[in-house]
Symmetry: C5
Subunit: 359 residues, 5 copies
Amino acid sequence: MTYFTKRYHPPGTSPGTLIRRDKRQQTSLRILLTDYTDSEYIEQVLTEPGECAAYLQRETVTWIHVQGDAEPETMRQLGKLFGLHHLALEDVINMGQRPKMDDYKDQLFVVMSHPVIDAGDVSVRMDQLSLFNGHNFVISFHPGENDPFDLVRKRLSDHVGRIRSRGADYLLYALIDVVIDEGFPVLEWLGGEVEALEDELLDSPSKNSLRRLHQLKRTLAILRRMLWPQRDVLNSLVRGDSGLISDENMVYYRDCYDHTIQIMDLIETYRDMATGMLDVYLSSISYRLNEIMRVLTMIATIFIPLTFVVGVYGMNFGNASNPWAMPELRWYYGYPLVWLVMIVVVAGMLIYFRRKKWL
Amino acid sequence: MTYFTKRYHPPGTSPGTLIRRDKRQQTSLRILLTDYTDSEYIEQVLTEPGECAAYLQRETVTWIHVQGDAEPETMRQLGKLFGLHHLALEDVINMGQRPKMDDYKDQLFVVMSHPVIDAGDVSVRMDQLSLFNGHNFVISFHPGENDPFDLVRKRLSDHVGRIRSRGADYLLYALIDVVIDEGFPVLEWLGGEVEALEDELLDSPSKNSLRRLHQLKRTLAILRRMLWPQRDVLNSLVRGDSGLISDENMVYYRDCYDHTIQIMDLIETYRDMATGMLDVYLSSISYRLNEIMRVLTMIATIFIPLTFVVGVYGMNFGNASNPWAMPELRWYYGYPLVWLVMIVVVAGMLIYFRRKKWL
Amino acid sequence: MTYFTKRYHPPGTSPGTLIRRDKRQQTSLRILLTDYTDSEYIEQVLTEPGECAAYLQRETVTWIHVQGDAEPETMRQLGKLFGLHHLALEDVINMGQRPKMDDYKDQLFVVMSHPVIDAGDVSVRMDQLSLFNGHNFVISFHPGENDPFDLVRKRLSDHVGRIRSRGADYLLYALIDVVIDEGFPVLEWLGGEVEALEDELLDSPSKNSLRRLHQLKRTLAILRRMLWPQRDVLNSLVRGDSGLISDENMVYYRDCYDHTIQIMDLIETYRDMATGMLDVYLSSISYRLNEIMRVLTMIATIFIPLTFVVGVYGMNFGNASNPWAMPELRWYYGYPLVWLVMIVVVAGMLIYFRRKKWL
Amino acid sequence: MTYFTKRYHPPGTSPGTLIRRDKRQQTSLRILLTDYTDSEYIEQVLTEPGECAAYLQRETVTWIHVQGDAEPETMRQLGKLFGLHHLALEDVINMGQRPKMDDYKDQLFVVMSHPVIDAGDVSVRMDQLSLFNGHNFVISFHPGENDPFDLVRKRLSDHVGRIRSRGADYLLYALIDVVIDEGFPVLEWLGGEVEALEDELLDSPSKNSLRRLHQLKRTLAILRRMLWPQRDVLNSLVRGDSGLISDENMVYYRDCYDHTIQIMDLIETYRDMATGMLDVYLSSISYRLNEIMRVLTMIATIFIPLTFVVGVYGMNFGNASNPWAMPELRWYYGYPLVWLVMIVVVAGMLIYFRRKKWL
Amino acid sequence: MTYFTKRYHPPGTSPGTLIRRDKRQQTSLRILLTDYTDSEYIEQVLTEPGECAAYLQRETVTWIHVQGDAEPETMRQLGKLFGLHHLALEDVINMGQRPKMDDYKDQLFVVMSHPVIDAGDVSVRMDQLSLFNGHNFVISFHPGENDPFDLVRKRLSDHVGRIRSRGADYLLYALIDVVIDEGFPVLEWLGGEVEALEDELLDSPSKNSLRRLHQLKRTLAILRRMLWPQRDVLNSLVRGDSGLISDENMVYYRDCYDHTIQIMDLIETYRDMATGMLDVYLSSISYRLNEIMRVLTMIATIFIPLTFVVGVYGMNFGNASNPWAMPELRWYYGYPLVWLVMIVVVAGMLIYFRRKKWL
């Protein structure tokens, strides 16, 4: 997961230019039209954006979902059909946008971030979901392989709850809600990661712990950067700045807003703990170094003086005729005496260590 | 205590769905009805939510307290009887909610966090208290084993103070007040923990201190996350946004708000000190390492040169006929001279150490 | 100084209950009445709160000061006489309150924190000053042994400045001003502590420095927690939210507000520096460890190879008839050669160390 | 890259004084006039500011771009021709200004920061772009060697998009947009730097990593200081405080504002990660020290006791006739026994180390 | 430079008391009167404050500058002449005030901080500048030895720019501007200090670096505390809260406000970098310790086993008749074999170290 994921045109390019800059292999494109009222329900795969023109006239809710990397040409056609602003279309193409809401009087343009777990390396991929909402239509763009809205479509076709009878603004809510609620499993998984890492750091910190911890912090930093503005988006939707959302659906948006706050709360808590964990790691390592050094010091301070003592009597001064030349060597109890001296030295050391609480 | 405690439905589920996702062993359910005016007082254990229908018509204050894990079916019945919003009911079921207040025009839905000390491992359990307040009723949900409101019920039956004559909004205050004031013993206990840990870290830091400290930080992080929003809840109650709370009871809510601020103040102070303590731990350990190394260095620097000296005269060059082959061995005062040299070396070292302030 | 100093009733107790929870030995109680106009001045020690009833009717400013731990009974009597709110009385009894101002329409209840230096262990005791201010009276409660308002009483009796002619709101100001200005000597003393500790940490950090530093941070944390809200109290007094303070006295409250800001500014600066000092301590210790290790390493790396060399010639291979068995021992210049080798080794080491900048 | 880059006059100088204080070698000066309506387009290099007087009368959009270090005299002439405020002119000369917008009723003065990568030492140069915008003219000053607006001029001459038909305020937007969008390549490059450094710190931290990291933090600090206020500039432009920007062009300014937010978001994320990286570096180094010490300790604790043992039998007590004088030397299996003892000691050590998890 | 520099009266003193508390040696006092209109200019040294009474009646701008420590008596006289508030006069005497603006309806009282470099020990002295501004007069108090306003007086007498024709509010601006702009050379110098220290810390950190760094942080902390409120002062002047400043001079105050923001920006950047530098210092030292330990460990691990080996053959088991007593000593190639073993050991170690990347 890299920090900089935004696509952009070279500075100086005319605003609203629709060109795909990166030539990554494209995912296949799939355009799905869903058209419904309380009593009717039509689902159709479009081969060409133009096909939806027929549905536009009727007083039904029309939902066009574009799954995969949309080509500039497709965008231009949809833009013309629904009267979408060229700056908004540019933002759909130049993915990696920050979540935001642009209010173009008669339509809303909403960008959301869809978090997807990439369990391999403790990271999270952020897919950009772009939504247009007009009087009786919603257009959604999602670049990934998998359509995250299957369950919504099922609720629509099964006529579950109030979804069929509440207009395009409720559909917009339902789609936003899916993407926001995807944050909960992500955070549940990350919470587990945080706890597992805490245990590892306290019990047996290894070189790898440091790498994992850093990756976790990175993931949280990116997650925060991409999810924080969602709170603002929902806040301004809830404040009812736009006339496109009816009062009776507002309670649902408020519920959604609550979820964004809960998500940010958790991210902040995790970030807090992750920051503290580096110190724990450092303390844990320092403590260990202390332990190691204590052992080394004890062994060394006990044996170094002893080695000196035995070294003394290894000297070759032992000229038997010279009374000044190591007479100890010639004493009858010389050898046991040396041992006695050494035992006394060791005992003294041990007492000293015990007083210093090193033993 | 885990970071992620929220229950949630799979993303895409219809809002207001009442299903219990986790199948933990359930605590027994107990529904207690209390109905009173200034002059009357009735207390009754309900076997079925429907039984309270009779009390609803009368102009008395009706308080229904549901102790234990409520089942979806019970919720649905209560919801229908009192006209509770399905999004609110979903929040009662999906516990682990953040404290919040939702104002549904004719009724308030309040979620509070009830902190309970789990002294075993320096942690605090957060139980969710859910409250509905209408014109003349209060419904409360608490998932734990123990009913925290026994004292309130006693004040009601004993007619202590103003509680019987001040309506449902005063009852709501009394319940919220209990849960908030439970924060004080929790913080008193945590304050003791902080102080004990401080002493331990400064006097004799051990490996276990680190673990305790981390647990403390974790507890404070979770406590803060769950209690901070209570301040906001009480603030918006005090601002009088809702028409359900009378002006004469407002002074009590203001008192309650003061308590939430005092609690947050204490938590922030503890967090501050806990953050600083890791540095204290690290410094304490580093200081100790210094002490250990100083001893090792002194012993080593004193004896290593001496060992070299005695090593020199352990060499077997002592060919008596060769004047270049260690003539020292054959000097009359050779051996005492070696000792003199060594004593001078040691004395020099000691003077050096004293100047360096290592002794 | 402990973190948690608030007294509180068990959760669930009826609000406004006046019971003394802690049974600490009580300080003696002393009730002092001061009654004055521009021309008159009466001072009287009351044996019973009831005695002040006579003074209440007259259009003079009546100041009742209660020094020492007030008993619930005294509180109740005063409450009845002056019409004080029972929640406010509870806050006077349950000391350890956060500074705050409660506006009960016709009277103000102000809680302030009075910092007192406890030089023994670098800490500050916070006494709670509780003030009631009505149309023509001020009631003050202070729990300590010493009356902090002697100077104010002297100004009153000596008719110094404008104090006698400006009403009860000016008296309230005068009392608040004393308590706030007590912050300056406290901060001057703490500033000296901070500077002394800085010098100690940079020059000769000891184990005790760490303890002193931590105590300093603790004191600052508590000071901040108790003095920060005073700023808010004075701000809301200055904003003139209450009608009890006349416009002409407002300039004095503004001056007081300025002082609270200066105090908070200093506390923040101290906290900032104290936080940085732990890093200084750690750096100082690490630097010292470096010094120690450099000496050890030098001594060890110089002598360990030498010891090896002399060890070689201490081996007993010296069979004179075997040309492969340590012929060096039998060379004429063998011994001086060994010394030459050793001198070269040491010289090489020293050059290496100098290049590494260890010498 | 230095922190302090602002040019200033000595304190006390009269405001609006136009003197060049630093006498750095000047870049060559080039004044370029562009004059256009929807149908006409004129481009001309001016040798003297006065030459543009003719274009001023006509109802065309006149854009004067001054590339390079403008001399005070040139400034004065332009100031007189277009009625520019002398304080604004002083800010153009005294480069190193913070981005800001000054609204002089009939004209806007905008200062922006143009970031240019200086890949050599991981740093970014900030060039000051100064813009004046009046009813039908834009004057731009850029001190660097290279004109950043070539692409805009090309769009003008090629009549790309709406640029020719939308007035001077759209031109202002186009110029600001170029400078802001220059932030994206800079941040893309810095993002790569951050990631490369992260890998280096985790894998093989060297002395140089520390230097690079510090340089990165410095760059981010300066970048933040210079780009943060651009957000405020665009915010106040978007709020429409000035009457010089038409409503229909506002959507473009809003797009620009979004970009400044995205840029600040990224800078904050990088800063966050860079701050954490120092701890990673420290942890990484500490971990390594641990590894090193473990090896040293193992080798030392194994061999130091052994060396003592062999030292014992190197002593010259071996007087064969004295039964107390090292009889071991004379035992038949003495030598193999010593080896046995040593092997047992080593084995014990290894078991101990394995239990301590050092092996 | 000490943290606590405020002078204050003992708590409880009557507000507005004019007594000099500290009896430091006083700087000489000098009162300078400047009186001018567009056409006239008078400069006069006053021996007595009373002398200026004559100038007060006339419709000229009168500027009285008091250089040096003013005595209470002088203050009292000036106070009476110009009707200055006694609380303001107290603030002039009790120096060390926080910058602030008090608006006494018909006159402004402004306190500013004048930073002066004290290059000796990397610190900055803050002199208090007190200013009174009425309808047609300005009174300024500056306690230092040197008059900072010589250049302003020169502009007045030389009739430079607009200063003579713009009234007392422009004069007030000119004085404030001088003091604020004095911040730029101070910050330029500090910026150099920061950069020099960065280089020192990265290249060759010494014990002294730590001291210098701490002094730098201290200076920045005090600078920030004293300059931050200047921003607020200028902000409220710019907001035009007071009627004493004319609209046409407002643009100059706005320019001044910009400067305070630039200054705060720089201080924040320096503080940020200074905070990071302690970590750099610590990392730098840790890295060095690593280096030292690596060398020690290498030398020790290479030679300790070798010393053991040669120790083995220094044992006196060599009884030629016992086949178990060190037969190696008697082997023909025993000695070269020992060397071979030792060379193999060293080679193995070196390979191990190279794999560990210690070489």
